[in-house]
Symmetry: D2
Subunit: 363 residues, 4 copies
C-alpha cells in the first residue's frame, strides 16, 4: 500500500526549477544544513520532495545564479542538478521578443524565404569578378549580396583580406541595390563596415564563442537596423550555447539576430564538415530567431551544395546563404571549391522556393 500526500499550497518553484539529485536515498541533516546555507546566500530556500525510496530537493527562489549551482555541484554527495527551463531571457521563444521579425532588404524572415548569395572572398586585385557576381546573383533571385572582405585563416601565411575589398563590396551594393552581408572579426572591422553601410554583419564559426567580439558588435549596433548573421561554432556544442551567443547581441538592444547552422566538425567522410541543417526544428522550439542555413560550408564542394540547401528548406529554414561566383575557378578563398555558378544558383533558388511553398501550404 502506498502512502499518500496532501499538498496544502503550491510549492513555490520558479520558472527554472533546479532539482538536486543526491547520490544517496536521502541527505543527512548536516548535508541539508550545508545546502540550505549555500542557497540562502543567494536568497533561495530548499524544498524536499520526499519519496518512499529516495528524496530529491528543489531550489526555490531566484536561482538563475550559476555560481550557486556550481557550488552545489561541487558537493561530493550530490549526483547532479537538473535544470528545466530556458537559460536565455530575450532569445527564448516565450520571451517578449517572440513577435519580433527580422527584416532585411524588404524580406521579412519567417514569411518569405531569404536568399543571400555571393563570393566567399572578394579579390581586391580583380574587382570586376565581384561586380559581375553581384549582378548575376541578383538575376538568379538572391535578395542579399554576400562578399568576404576580411578572412579568418588557419594558415597564418595565407591571404587575410584587404580593406579595399570593402569599397568593392559597397560599390556592388550600390550598382545592384542589394543589401550586403560580410564577416567582421575585429572592433576595427565593425566600425568600418557600419560606416560603409553594411546591412548584415556576419560572425564566423571560429568566433561564434568569442564573447568579446559579440559584446562589441552588440554595443555598436544597438538601436540600428543592422542585423547579425551568427554562424554556429565548429564544435557540436549544445544548442543552448548557440542561442546564448545570440543573447549577447540582443542584450544590448538589437534583436536582429539570425542563427546560421553551417556544419560542424568532425567531418563526414566526403564532406568538408558535418551538415547540421537538421537542427533547424530544434532551434525553432527554443527560440523565435530566424534560421538561415549555409549549405556551402556544410558540404564544402559545389556539387553537393544544392541537395544540402534543399534539405535545409525541407527542415524549415527561413533562408539560405550560398556561395556563388560568375567564374568559380577565378575565385579566391573557398570559391573555386564551393561557389555555384549563377545558372546553378538560379535553378536551386527556384527549387528552394518550391519546397518552401510546399511546406507553407501544408502547415
Amino acid at each position: 500500500m502506498k502512502s499518500t500526500v496532501e499538498i496544502s499550497a503550491q510549492i513555490p518553484f520558479n520558472s527554472s526549477l533546479p532539482m538536486i539529485l543526491p547520490k544517496t536515498p536521502q541527505l543527512t541533516s548536516e548535508q541539508i544544513a550545508e545546502i540550505t546555507a549555500i542557497v540562502g546566500e543567494f536568497g533561495c530556500t530548499l524544498q524536499p520532495i520526499i519519496g518512499t525510496v529516495r528524496t530529491i530537493y528543489a531550489i526555490v527562489g531566484d536561482e538563475r545564479d550559476e555560481l550557486m549551482i556550481n557550488r552545489l555541484e561541487g558537493l561530493a554527495y550530490i549526483d547532479r542538478i537538473d535544470r528545466i527551463q530556458s537559460p536565455f531571457k530575450l532569445m527564448d521563444r516565450r520571451s517578449d521578443l517572440a513577435n519580433h521579425r527580422v527584416k532585411i532588404g524588404g524580406v521579412t524572415l519567417g514569411r518569405e524565404l531569404l536568399i543571400m548569395a555571393g563570393q566567399c572572398t572578394i579579390d581586391p586585385k580583380n574587382p570586376h569578378y565581384f561586380i559581375e557576381t553581384a549582378h548575376a546573383v541578383k538575376e538568379a533571385g538572391a535578395q542579399v549580396l554576400r562578399g568576404g572582405v576580411w578572412k579568418p585563416r588557419s594558415n597564418p601565411y595565407s591571404f587575410q583580406g584587404d580593406n579595399k575589398s570593402l569599397d568593392i563590396l559597397m560599390d556592388a551594393s550600390r550598382r545592384t541595390g542589394l543589401p550586403v552581408v560580410t564577416e567582421v572579426m575585429e572592433p576595427e572591422h565593425i566600425q568600418l563596415a557600419l560606416d560603409a553601410g553594411v546591412t548584415v554583419l556576419q560572425v564566423g564559426a571560429r568566433n561564434a564563442l568569442n564573447y568579446s567580439l559579440l559584446r562589441q558588435i552588440g554595443r555598436a549596433i544597438a538601436g540600428r537596423d543592422t542585423a547579425v548573421l551568427l554562424k554556429r561554432s565548429l564544435h557540436m556544442g549544445p544548442l543552448n550555447e548557440f542561442i546564448s551567443a545570440g543573447e549577447y547581441i540582443a542584450a544590448f538592444g538589437n534583436p536582429n539576430v539570425i542563427l546560421c547552422p553551417r556544419g560542424t566538425t568532425p567531418t563526414m567522410d566526403g564532406y568538408r564538415n558535418h551538415p547540421d541543417e537538421s537542427i533547424t526544428p530544434l532551434l525553432k522550439e527554443k527560440t523565435w530567431a530566424p534560421v538561415v542555413v549555409d549549405p556551402s560550408h556544410s558540404v564544402g564542394k559545389a556539387i553537393y551544395v544544392p541537395a544540402c540547401a534543399l534539405a535545409a528548406v525541407a527542415y524549415g529554414a527561413d533562408g539560405l546563404v550560398i556561395e556563388a561566383h560568375v567564374s568559380p575557378s577565378h575565385g579566391i578563398g573557398d570559391d573555386p571549391k564551393q561557389a555555384l555558378t549563377p545558372a546553378v544558383l538560379a535553378g536551386l533558388i527556384t527549387q528552394a522556393h518550391a519546397i518552401h511553398s510546399l511546406r507553407q501550404s501544408a502547415s
Copy 2:
C-alpha cells in the same frame, strides 16, 4: 632549377595503387630490402617515386591483401599507406552490378520513390491494430508494409518479440496485397521469415556489423527475389564499412541490397540520434545500391519525422521507411513515440513525391 624526369614506360600501378609514405625523406637500402621482401611474399614489387626532397613508394601487383598492408603499417619507419580505390568488388558503382536495379512490389528503386511504412512492433495480444495500420498505410500511399516481429532491446527484461506476430504480419500482407519488411536477428528468424513469405529482410543497426548474421542471410537468400534493408550501424563509422556490410550479402549471389541511413549516435540534443540522411549523395558516389532513409529512428519523435523525411528526399534518397500506426498511443515498442498517424503519413507521402519529382525534373 628543377631536375627533370623521363618515364620510359607506364609504371604498372594496378587499380588500388597503395602508396607508402615513410617518416623520413627517403628509406635506407635496408628498409627498402625489408619492404621488398614483404611485398614479394604477396607477389608484389616496390616502385619508388623519387622527389628532390622526399620519395614515396608505390606497391605494384595484386595488392588487395590486407595482411600485407597491415604488416607494412607495422614498420616503425612508415608513416602511413594511402590507398586509393574501392575496397568492394560488387557494391562499387563501377562494378558489373552497376546496372542492377532493386525491385520491390512492382516499384523499381531509383526510378520511383519507394515508401515503406508500418509499425515498429506488432502487438501479438492486439492483432487488430496492425491489420488496421496495414490498410491505413496502403491507403496513405505506402507500397511496402513494415511490421516488427522480433525486437533487439537494450534492456534484457523488456519484450523481445513473439513468433505469433509473424502470422499477423503475413495476414496483413495477404489482406492488403502489400509486400512486407521485418527485422531478423537470428538464423532461426531468417528461415521462419522466408518460409512465411517475407519480401524484405531488415538487418538492424545493432547487427549492421554482425558479419555472421550477414553471411547467414546472404546464404539463405542467394538466388531468391528477397531483398535486404541494411540499416547503418549506430556509430559514425566510415561509409566504406557500411557498404562493405552490403558486400557480404551480394557476395553470396543476391544483389538486392538496400542501404538505410537511420541516424547515428551521439545524439543531437533533442533528437534520438544524429540524423544522417545527408550521407545519401556520398553513398551514391560510391555504390549503385539504392538508399532508403529511416527518418523515424533518426529523430525519434513523431513531430520531427516529416521534416527529416522530406530532407532525405531532397538529398536524393530513393525511398523512405517510416513508422506509422492507426493509434500510436496503443502501440508497443517505439510506436507511441515515433509512429505517425495515417493522416500525417498521407500528407507526408504527397509532399515527398512532390520533392522527388522536383529533383527528377531538375536533373
Copy 3:
C-alpha cells in the same frame, strides 16, 4: 511573497522516480486524465509536484516498464521524462552482486592488476609462432593468454578464422598453464570454445549490441566458472547501454562479466579509434564489474600502445588486454601493426604494476 507547503506524508516515489516535464506550465485536466489512464494500465499513479510557475508530475509505482514511458513520451504536450536511477538490476554497484569478485587464473580482479596478452589472430598454418608467443607473454608477466581463433572482418573476402586454431590455442594453454581468452561470434563457436576449455569468452565490439549472441552466451555459461570479456561497441553510446549488455549475461546466472573499453569511432586523427580508457571512473560509479582496458585496439599501432595502457591504469583499470607476438611482422590479422614484442610487453607490465601500486597506496 512565496507560498509555503506542508507535506503530510512521504510521497511514495519508488526507486526509479520518473518525472514528467510538460511543455506548458501546467497540464489540463484532460491531459492529466489521459496520463493517469496510461500509467494506470501499468499499475502506477500520478503525483503532481506543484510550483508557482510550473508543475511537474511524478509517476508512482513499478514504473520500470519501458512501454509505459514510450507511450507517455509520445504525448505532444510532454516535453520529456527524466528518469533517475539505474536501469539494471544486477550490474548496478548497489545490487546484491556488488560484493561479487571475478577471478581468473588465480587473480582476483580489483585486488591485483590482471594482464591478458597474446596474438590478435592465431595463424593456423604457422602454429609455432603462437606457442612461442604464449611462452613469451607468460615470461613477460601475463596471467591470461589471448589468441584469436575466429575473426569478424569488414571485408567479406578476408581470412575469417579457422577451427584448427582452437586446438593451437588450447595446446598453448596446456603448455604454459595459462587460462585463455578468445572471441566467439556464433552459437557454434560458444559450444566449441566451452568444450575445449576456454576460460574467458570475448564478445567483440561489433557484436556488443548483438543481444541474441549475449543471450546465447548467458545461457551457455550459466553456473560455470567461465567469464566474459565484453568489449565496448564502436559507437560512442551512453555508458548505460554498455553496462546493460553485461546485464544480459548476468541475468542468466553468470556474474563473471568484465567490461572492456577499446576505443570508439570516430577516429582521432592518428589513432585507429578514439581512446576511451577515461570512462573507467564513470563505469565504476555505476557498476561493480571490473574494467579491463584494451589499449591495442584503442590506438591501433604498437608504438602508441604503452602510453595508452599506462593511462588506463592511471584511470583505475583493473586490467589490460594487450596484443603481443614474438615476431609481429610474421603475424596475421592486426598483429603486424598492433602487437608488442615480448620485450616491450615485459617493460610495460612492470610499469603498469608500478602505477597500479601507486594508486592502491594513495587510495
Copy 4:
C-alpha cells in the same frame, strides 16, 4: 606481365608533394591543359605518375599556395588532392625551432614536469582566498600560479571578470615568488597583463581559433620572455589546426608556445568534456612544442581530476595545469565544482612526478 620503368632523374617533388587523384583512370588532354594552366599561374608544373590502370599527377614547384589547391579541388573531374607534409614552418618538429625549449620560472619544459595550479577565477571581493591559495599551491609543489582575471562566459548576464583581480594576482605572485598564468581575451587585456608582469598568457578554448587575438598576442610578445598557454578549441578538430594556431604566435617571433589539451565536446556522459590527453603522443610526433594538459576542464569535477591528470603524465605530457582552491566551496567561477583542495593537489603532484620519473627512466 608487368611493364617496367626507368627513372632517368629525380622527379622534382618538393617537400609538400601534392598528388592529384582524378575520378577517372586518366585525365583527358583538355583536363591536363586546364590543370597545367592553373598550376602554371602559381609557378608549378604537373608531373604524371602513369600506371596500367590509372594515373595520378604530382604538382611540382612551390605548391604551398592554398588558393591553387582550392582551385584544383573545385574541378569536377578531380576526386581529391592528397598532401603529405607539414603545413607549418616553425611549429614542425623538423623545423629550425626543434631544439627550442620553453622555460618558465626556472623549469625547462620537456626535462622536468611543470605544474601550474590555482583558481579558475579570482574573487575581487574576497582577495584573501587567492593569496591563501597561492601559498598553498606553492607548498603543494606547483611552480606556476594560475588565476583567472577575465572570464569568457556563455551567459551574458554572468560575472565576466574584473581588472582589480589583476592586482590580486600580481600581489600573490610577489608574495610567493611564483610566475603567473592568466587568460586574455581582448587587446586591452594583453597590454594590461604584460604591463603588470604576467609570465604566461593563456588563450582559452573559445578563442583558440580567434586568429585576430592570436596575431595581437604574437605582436605584443615578440622578443619577450612571455610564453603562451594555448588551449585546444572545444571542437574535435584536426590536430594540424591546433598546431597552426601556435604558428600564429611563433610567426611573430615568439617561440614560447605551449599546447594545452583540455577536453573537447561532445561530452562523455558524466564528464564536462571529452578528455583528450591521449592526443599528446600524436602532437609530439608533429611538433616540438611542449604539451601541458588541463585535467580540470577535461573532466569538470574535482573527484575525477587526479585520475585524468595521472593519465596525462602517462601519455607523456610535459606538465599539468590544475584548478585548486583553499576552500573550493567559497570559490567563484568553476572552482566550487572543479578545484582541488591543497591536500589533494599535493598528493596528486607527488604521484604525477612518480609516473613522470617512471616514463623518463623507461625511455
